[in-house]
């Protein structure tokens, strides 16, 4: 409840105005029939019947002779409706302003927060569910706070004002009317509860049917190759029929409810009018009264019938608010941050660094120690899942090391501001993400003021320039969801260009050349070296030919450094590196041997 209402808090004043207007609009509607009643009673029948219009207005009308009076009343009625129309417009607009304001706040807040949530959160998140929370849950909350909340007030206001006005005519009529209201309310509460349950069922059945179509369309090859068209039609017909039957059930309930509810309402008209006839017989009511009463009934009945639905929506909104709150209650990664912004040259030193995920039992990295001097190139090799990526994620402070110490140019990593760090230590992830923008925008996304020439230069260094020129729209090609589909290698190279444009002192390649061939891999690395000799480069790779050229190679096994050194050192020592080198370095030769053998 609190979680739901807190979103309305910044707009509390606006909400009050809206509530006021929501009450005023129907209340003033109750005066509309009074104008007509006045003409009927006072002008046409010439008697002095009770009228709830303010006294000054009655006196004002009374001051005219009959025909002029009718004209004045007519004009007043129109003016009155214009004023009411103005209020309605104002109410609608303010309500929109309030609703959209809430939605805007929620969206901005969620977007900001999701962006700031930690790396591990994003590693484990169910993106479909998260999207739903950001879209449909926001809509639910917005809808409730802007429509249902004022609606509740409206219902109570119209009940009270209707009761008072009717009582002023005749208490009996009011009582009869208010007898029927609970019946309608109960019926609607039952109905809407049923409907919302049924809706869920129907949604499931519909999803089932949609899945059937989807599988048929996507599996068209299988369906055709197995000659199962006929069976598919039968299967679909079953689902189609089930769906039809389910909806049909709901339709039946709908027809029963509205038939019943409308019938009751009309019966109520009948009872009220009948009662009025009895009263008229005793000369207790006039024509005007009966006209007014009928208008009131319709004013009361419609909101009452929606009350059942509001109750249902209320439950849903609370759930939605909880789901949204769940995201916001997760910690922002910048809660833990450093303050220092030292100059970063690229000297990195790991001392006994260990790391373990919060929910894991054992350490993923164990006592890692090594030194990198500025300008050096380091390669990290090891088998899949040995913790190579974790090392560089820690270096980027995507993950926080559990023990040990890491110094960047002599400053403890934990004391350095995360964003400052990431601005100076660039990384190309294993599976880089490209934004739904043009290639040009993507390459210079971190620094939009870079010139077109800078973009070209970076793309050339990343060996993706020629690929881009082959696209129809060249650098203006849209990538991402709605754009062209790039190959894995093209994506990687674009991501590399995106990083190279920035001149960072430290560059990390997290297996990010895996999808390009060995020669391209080599020439990309060469052009980086040529461009800047001071750059510290960390390369995670599976290719020994790539690792071979590094100043220092770190061999990682099961979260520990098993060996370290230059290629010459490692290739001559027994161990993982040597065995990898043996296999990978001699592949060409092995192949030739194989061919020799096979052909003979």
């Amino acid at each position: 409840m609190k979680k739901l209402l807190k979103w309305a808090k910044p707009f509390i004043f606006l909400l009050l105005v809206i509530c006021l207007l929501t009450i005023i609009v129907p209340v003033t509607y109750s005066y509309v029939p009074q104008f007509i009643k006045y003409v009927f009673d006072n002008v046409l029948e010439q008697k002095d019947a009770v009228n709830t219009l303010p006294a000054f207005l009655i006196n004002f009308f009374n001051s005219f002779d009959p025909i002029k009076c009718v004209i004045v009343v007519g004009i007043s009625l129109v003016i009155f409706q214009v004023l009411r129309g103005g209020l309605m417009l104002l109410n609608g607009y303010l309500k929109g302003y309030y609703a959209e304001g809430i939605a805007q706040n929620m969206r901005n807040k969620l977007f900001r927060h999701i962006g700031n949530l930690s790396f591990s959160y994003h590693n484990n998140v169910d993106s479909g569910d998260l999207i739903q929370r950001c879209t449909s849950d926001i809509e639910t909350i917005k809808g409730f706070l802007s429509n249902q909340l004022p609606q509740i007030l409206y219902i109570f206001a119209s009940l009270i004002s209707g009761a008072i006005q009717m009582a002023s005519i005749n208490v009996g009529i009011m009582l009869i009317t208010f007898c029927v209201i609970p019946i309608n309310f109960i019926a609607s509460a039952i109905y809407f509860k049923y409907v919302s349950r049924k809706f869920d069922e129907i949604e499931k059945v519909e999803a089932n049917m949609t899945t059937c179509i989807e599988e048929n369309v996507n599996g068209a090859r299988v369906v055709k190759a197995f000659a199962r068209e006929k069976e598919e039609i039968e299967k679909f017909d079953k689902k189609n029929t089930t769906y039809k039957d389910e909806v049909e059930k709901m339709n039946r309930a709908m027809a029963y409810f509205w038939g019943f509810s409308d019938g009751i309402t009309i019966l109520q008209y009948a009872v009220t009018i009948g009662y009025c006839i009895f009263l008229a017989e005793k000369n207790l009511v006039g024509v005007g009264d009966i006209v007014v009463c009928i208008s009131y009934i319709s004013m009361l009945v419609y909101p009452i019938r929606s009350l059942g639905r509001i109750i249902g929506d209320f439950g849903k909104s609370i759930v939605a608010a909880k789901r949204v709150d769940e995201i916001l209650s997760k910690d922002d990664e910048y809660v833990i941050n450093g303050t220092l912004k030292p100059e970063i040259k690229g000297n990195i030193s790991f001392k006994n660094v260990s790391f373990k995920f919060d929910d894991a039992e054992s350490e993923l990295l164990n006592n890692i120690s090594f030194d990198i001097k500025a300008g050096e190139t380091i390669a990290i090799v090891g088998k899949t899942g040995c913790g190579k990526s974790t090392i560089v994620h820690i270096l980027e402070r995507m993950l926080e090391y559990t023990s040990g110490s890491i110094l960047i140019d002599g400053v403890e990593l934990k004391d350095i501001d995360k964003k400052w760090l990431r601005k100076h230590i660039g990384i190309v992830l294993q599976d880089p993400f490209l934004y739904n923008k043009t290639i040009m925008e993507n390459v210079r996304i971190s620094s939009p003021n870079k010139s077109v020439d800078d973009v070209y230069r970076a793309s050339q260094m990343a060996h993706v320039h020629n690929d881009i020129l082959n696209f129809d729209k060249k650098y203006e090609t849209l990538v991402g969801e709605k754009g062209v589909t790039l190959s894995g290698g093209q994506k990687q190279r674009l991501a590399i260009a995106r990083m190279l444009i920035l001149n960072k002192p430290v560059l990390i390649f997290d297996d990010s050349l895996s999808a390009v061939d060995t020669e391209t891999d080599q020439s990309i690395r060469n052009s980086i070296k040529k461009y800047s000799k001071e750059t510290t480069t960390i390369i995670i790779t599976h290719r020994i030919t790539t690792a071979k050229e590094a100043d220092k190679i770190i061999v990682l096994e099961n979260g520990c450094i098993s060996d370290m050194g230059t290629h010459a050192d490692l290739a001559n020592r027994d161990g993982l590196y040597a065995s990898l080198w043996k296999i990978q370095g001699a592949l060409e030769e092995e192949f030739l041997n194989l061919v020799e053998k096979e052909v003979k």
Binding site: I36, F40, E45, P66, I67, V70, V73, L77, V78, G85, L89, G92, Y93, G96, E100, Q104, R107, F111, R112, I114, I131, T210, E214, E215, N218, A220, R221, A225, F226, A227, E229, K230, D237, K244, V247, E248, R252, M254, A255, Y256, G259, D262, G263, L267, A270, I273, G274, G426, I427, F433, N436, I445, S446, E481, H542, Q584, L587, E588, F591, V595
Partner: protein, 616 residues
Amino acid sequence: MDEELEYEELDDKPQKLSSSVWKKIIKLVLKRKRHIIIMIISVIMLAALDVLTPLLNSEVIKVFFSENPDFSKKWFFIGLYVLGALLYMITIYLFLRQAGHVEVEVGYEIRKEAFEKLQELPFSYYDKTPSGWIMARLTSDSRKLSEIISWGMVDLFWSIFTMLGVLVMIYITNWRLALIITFITPIMFIVCVYFTKTILIAYRSVRKTNSKITGSFNESILGAKTTKTLCLEDSRYNEFKTLTHTMKNESLKAIFRSSLFWPIVLVMGYIGVALTLGIGSGGILGYIGGIAVTVEVLYLFINYTTLFFDPVMAIARVLSDLQQAQASAERIIDLIETKVDIYDTDEVKAIYGTFLNPKRENWEPLEGYVEFRNVTFSYTQKEVVLKNFNLTVKKGETVALVGTTGAGKSTIINLLCRFYEPTSGEIYIDSKNYKERSINHLHENLGYVLQTPHLFNGTIKENIAYGKIDASMDEIIEAAKKAQAHEFIISLKDGYDTLVGEGGSKLSLGQRQLISFARAIIKDPKILILDEATSSIDTETEKLIQGVMNNFMKGRTTFIVAHRLSTIIDADKILVIKDGEIKESGTHKELLKQEGIYYNLYKKQFIKEQMDNSIK
């Protein structure tokens, strides 16, 4: 963003109503004639009741509230009211029931027709048409159409008949007073049409912005890590803020328009009420000659004036809905009327039957001789994919197709499966042009194992039995055993009754692959097509699959789109396809000797496989 949503968005600019499309749609719905008639009748009844109720009220006023009330008739009138209430109850129940019924039946019918058509369409249709597009036709479009045909019709008929009824009543009662309503209505109608349209336009741009917001959220979630590494959180957030700001402004524009709509209609209506009141009272009071009005007539008129708002607004709304639904209707008709370009000739149908009524008794068993004779094929007119392709494959031979992506390997498979037909040249199976047999007959003799196995939502048992509909449990188990799938299946809690999930998502890729083998094995096909997986599955499953494949291929004519070295080596014949031609052909050894394309392809693959294995 959801693909389906995207195709919905494509969308529905109001279009001029075209009668030919709607005629076809009406033809489609006329199968539900009876319900539509009951629906229309009950709607007309409702309109009549709506028109008659004020009349009854005014009679009551006349009889009981005039100068000389006659209270003797009070039970008669009370009776009338009760009767009215009952009639309302019945009518409302009836029209809701029937309209709901028409809605579901029409939706059902459209989906059924479309789905049946989809089964008839050749595979090439699916190749050309994005699945999201097809999905949107069977979901959102069929929904939109069935809604408009049921509820739209209800609104339309109710409005027209209510208006007609009211007009008749007021002209009978007092034609001079009736002129007021008559004048106001067209103006009101124009206003309604105008507003409905501008509101629609405003909301369309709101929807577009909204889908951009969803897209942004999607990007922020999927690209979160990249955003962090590039420190783009702030700039992404600022971009997003601009977007939500636009969203707010656009929404407010739309809200303003729709908030203005009702007050304007209301005021216009009340101008009518005031005029009626003024002129009517003038008549009663004797100021305006020639209008003989009484109090109850005036009451009636005021009531009728307010009764007029709703139908006018409803008609404007239905018109705009119809214009919007036009696009849906066209697309559905488009789908249902798509020309089938690969079909069996009437002579073939006469012998082999249609896909709905196959004459299996006439289906001769196949041996598995395959021959391509001078086959040329092009998907579009510009580009020839296959040129004068000739190939003879003996019964039981294994042919491996090797080559880079786009070389034409899958085209050969597509032609063999008759998913496409040669542009020129012929394909013979057992020395008979395959067009002289039915498509279904060919497919019945085909085993097809796809690169990415596609399973259907249902149990494992059902999925295996997909290959042979009347398969017994023993046959299913037998097939699963041959596919090496039996063991993992019985290790699952529900065994053969385990649900595989959407597209098989509850099983691992390897498990899915094994089941798709079992599905092909149970069919015992003479011709086998294996589209080998490029994506790496774990070594163990790979070995398992390899074993299954080798066993399965024995005695069957097999075509493999091959990637793995082990499969290639064992083939009876290797074809190196490049630019739609056979560049090299022969056994593994022969090709290696040539040191040509095959030699290089093999080398690349060898190095890649060895490298991958080394770090596993």
